[in-house]
């Protein structure tokens, strides 16, 4: 294996990892705070992607990078509003109920997302051209580094750093962490727990919508997009440790690297190293890389 191959595979690994992390970030945030495993998260990611697609379509042709980012932010805001509606109608009712009911209710929400997508955008496959400045690749020696890949990696890192900063260095972030640890005590101390829950749900959904917009030119759009992404997002939050943002970040990087280099070594068995690694990690550390045992 030459140096160029190693660089290309590393970039591929990180692209997969950051695309997955972008989707998983909101999912693990909501789980870490509300202890609700929102199976419909992929559905709202998909809706974010379709909203960004509609915006790009309204402009026509390849969007500029500024418009691409603006479309992603708009998708994030609109999906956050949807999140508030979902919180009011569904998530609040799931507080304290058995996990099986949560799973069924949020899975039903996923079906609603898929059905709504079919109604609004149809069954056809769609795609969005990347901005001209993200089209093509840079060459580093013989290594090919697609610009869109580097953009996705950058977006994932920025979202991770921003989340970590907000959660650890700001007062609202510390409140979220405090409530996640002990909502009863937080309530006794006069914290409006309900408001923080609602804000966390809105942020979790906004992250799903933002991820949809940022990744819209990375893959095809179809009503099955939700299921395709949510499975790997669940994989990394389980490996990383349920509810841990840093766990999802580093878990996705680890799995991305294992998958890329594993496929190099075993080209006839694509996907096998990924699942073997997941199995091994869960056998050795059932709570995930950065998870706590009580999760």
């Amino acid at each position: 294996m030459q140096a160029a191959d190693i660089v290309t595979l590393l970039v591929n690994s990180l692209t997969w990892a950051m695309a997955t992390f972008l989707v998983a970030a909101g999912l693990t945030l909501v789980f870490g705070t509300l202890h609700i495993l929102n199976f419909s998260h992929g559905g709202f990611f998909m809706i974010g992607a379709y909203l960004a697609y509609s915006l790009a379509n309204a402009i026509g042709g390849a969007p500029s990078i500024a418009m691409y980012l603006f479309g992603s932010l708009v998708a994030g805001v609109l999906v956050a509003v949807l999140g508030l509606v979902v919180d009011r109608l569904v998530l609040r009712r799931l507080a304290g109920v058995d996990d099986a009911y949560v799973l069924i209710a949020t899975y039903a929400l996923l079906l609603v997302c898929e059905g709504s997508t079919k109604l609004l955008w149809g069954l056809n496959y769609h795609s969005v051209q990347p901005p001209a400045s993200l089209d093509g690749a840079w060459l580093l020696g013989n290594a090919v580094l697609p610009k869109l890949s580097l953009f996705i990696i950058g977006a994932g890192v920025i979202v991770f750093v921003a989340l970590e900063y907000c959660l650890n260095q700001t007062r609202p972030g510390r409140l979220v962490k405090a409530i996640a640890a002990d909502p009863w005590m937080a309530r006794l101390l006069g914290v409006n727990v309900r408001l923080v829950y609602t804000a966390t749900v809105a942020l979790g959904f906004a992250l799903a919508g933002l991820a949809g917009g940022l990744l819209v030119s990375n893959q095809t759009l179809s009503p099955t997009l939700a299921s395709a992404f949510v499975i790997q997002a669940f994989g990394v939050i389980i490996i990383g440790g349920m509810g841990s943002i840093a766990g999802a970040f580093f878990g996705s990087i680890l799995l991305g690297i294992i998958d890329a280099f594993g496929q190099w070594v075993l080209p006839g068995l694509p996907g096998l190293p990924f699942f073997l690694a997941m199995t091994l990690i869960l056998l050795l550390r059932p709570q995930g890389l950065m998870g706590r045992r009580n999760h």
Partner: protein
């Protein structure tokens, strides 16, 4: 609160037992009402999109036939069931329909579904037409006398593509494949290789060089590792068997690496306009196989009428081939029933074997030995275009199906040349 007493339990149990044992004889008879035909196709899940074409094509055929007086004077009614592209769901739907007296069925575009339905149709005395399953096994080791394919066989389609490549690109001799890691992908690639090994020496007078295909994971959202593997090869021609949304994602991600620009020709197995519609101007120019291309069948009265009815029904300008396969299946059943003046399974099968019937792509013949249609293989060359549609067809080719299809070999395994 409702209480269920012992008497009620006995009453309902007796009724259930009677229904299970005595009634099937009653419900199995179709009677003299509408002639019911089962349509078992994916109407949800990943293949719903293709299933919607099958449903539209079947409904158009039924509407046309009913307007013209039906079959043997009986109106036709479709019994529509969702197979979810899942063998278990398809089997449940088929057993339910067979149990209620529906013996004639069409649909099934997943190979796994069609292979699962073969034995059930045989046991329960039904007939099934696939509207696009690509498995060669139904012509070979999984042959069932009750299964029919009115469209291209995988060997005819794929070998026709290899033949076309040898004719059009005699100097492009170094080939690789982008092959999904499942049975259909691997078999289709193997048949393409067989075709290259036959037609390059005989037509281009050159020996092709076959590189290891790049295996693509199925149903994922990232193909960059496979694309990186493909970049390391020095192939001039590529045969793509990735399909639908997977293919669109793969082409989108390959664009960043410039992979498709490295190939002098791209030949796609079966995406018709699916990928071109999804990618529009991002679409890399390529050949693809078609079940039906309306523009090329202009002047065929069945095609012209089918296209007009399809456009009126769906507001979609261009049907994809799966709609035509369903249409052809219903018309094949119509002709077989009218010939034998019977809807009984044995009579229908006897009349289907060796039958020639008219379709939107011209006449087709169902080979008696393995129930496989002999028909011309249609291929188009699609290029991106700066139009609202985003693509245009710039070449169209028909290859005589008889010149590329393998001889019938029901019950025997397919044997192929290998590099």
């Amino acid at each position: 609160m409702n209480h269920i007493d012992r008497r009620s339990v006995l009453k309902y149990s007796a009724a259930a037992a009677a229904a299970a044992t005595g009634l099937p004889g009653l419900v199995r008879a179709q009677g003299s009402g509408p002639l019911r035909i089962g349509l078992i196709t994916p109407l949800s899940g990943p293949q719903e999109f293709i299933g919607s074409y099958v449903k539209n094509g079947a409904e158009i055929a039924v509407e046309q036939i009913n307007k013209a007086g039906g079959i043997l004077g009986r109106q036709v009614a479709l019994e529509i069931r969702d197979d979810k592209a899942n063998p278990a769901a398809a089997l449940a739907a088929a057993r339910e329909l067979l149990g209620s007296g529906v013996n004639l069925h069409i649909g099934g575009i997943s190979s796994a579904v069609v292979l699962a339905l073969g034995p059930v149709m045989q046991q329960e005395n039904g007939v099934f037409f696939t509207c696009g399953a690509g498995t060669e096994k139904m012509n070979h080791e999984n042959y069932s006398p009750n299964l029919f394919r009115p469209g291209d066989s995988p060997d005819a389609r794929t070998r026709a593509q290899a033949k076309l490549m040898a004719q059009k690109y005699p100097d492009i001799t170094r080939w690789t494949g982008l092959v999904p890691d499942h049975e259909y992908g691997r078999t289709t690639w193997s048949i393409f290789v067989d075709g290259l090994l036959e037609f390059y020496p005989s037509i281009a007078k050159k020996k092709p060089e076959i590189l290891d295909p790049i295996l693509m994971p199925y149903g994922v959202v990232d193909y960059r590792n496979s694309i990186t593997q493909a970049l390391r090869q020095q192939a001039d021609g590529v045969f793509n068997c990735t399909y639908g949304g997977d293919a669109i994602t793969m082409f989108q991600q390959a664009r960043g690496f410039g992979l498709m620009n490295r190939y002098k020709v791209i030949c796609d197995a079966a995406n018709e306009f699916l990928v071109a519609r999804g990618l529009k101007q991002q679409f890399p120019a390529q050949w693809t196989g078609m079940h039906y291309y309306a523009e090329a069948n202009k002047g065929n009265p069945l095609s012209d009428r089918f296209l007009a009815d399809y456009q009126a029904k769906t507001k979609d300008a261009e049907p994809l081939g799966w709609a035509a396969e369903a249409h052809a299946s219903i018309y094949a059943l119509k002709q077989a029933i009218e010939k034998g003046k019977s809807t009984e399974t044995a009579a229908v099968i006897a009349n289907l074997k060796g039958m020639t019937w008219q379709t939107v792509t011209g006449p087709r013949t169902l080979r008696a030995e393995d129930n496989q249609a002999i028909k011309d293989v249609e291929m188009v060359y699609i290029e991106p275009a700066a139009t609202e549609k985003g693509y245009k067809v710039t070449q169209y080719v028909k290859v005589d199906g008889k010149s590329v299809i393998f001889p019938p070999a029901p019950g025997k395994k397919l044997t192929l040349r290998s590099a």
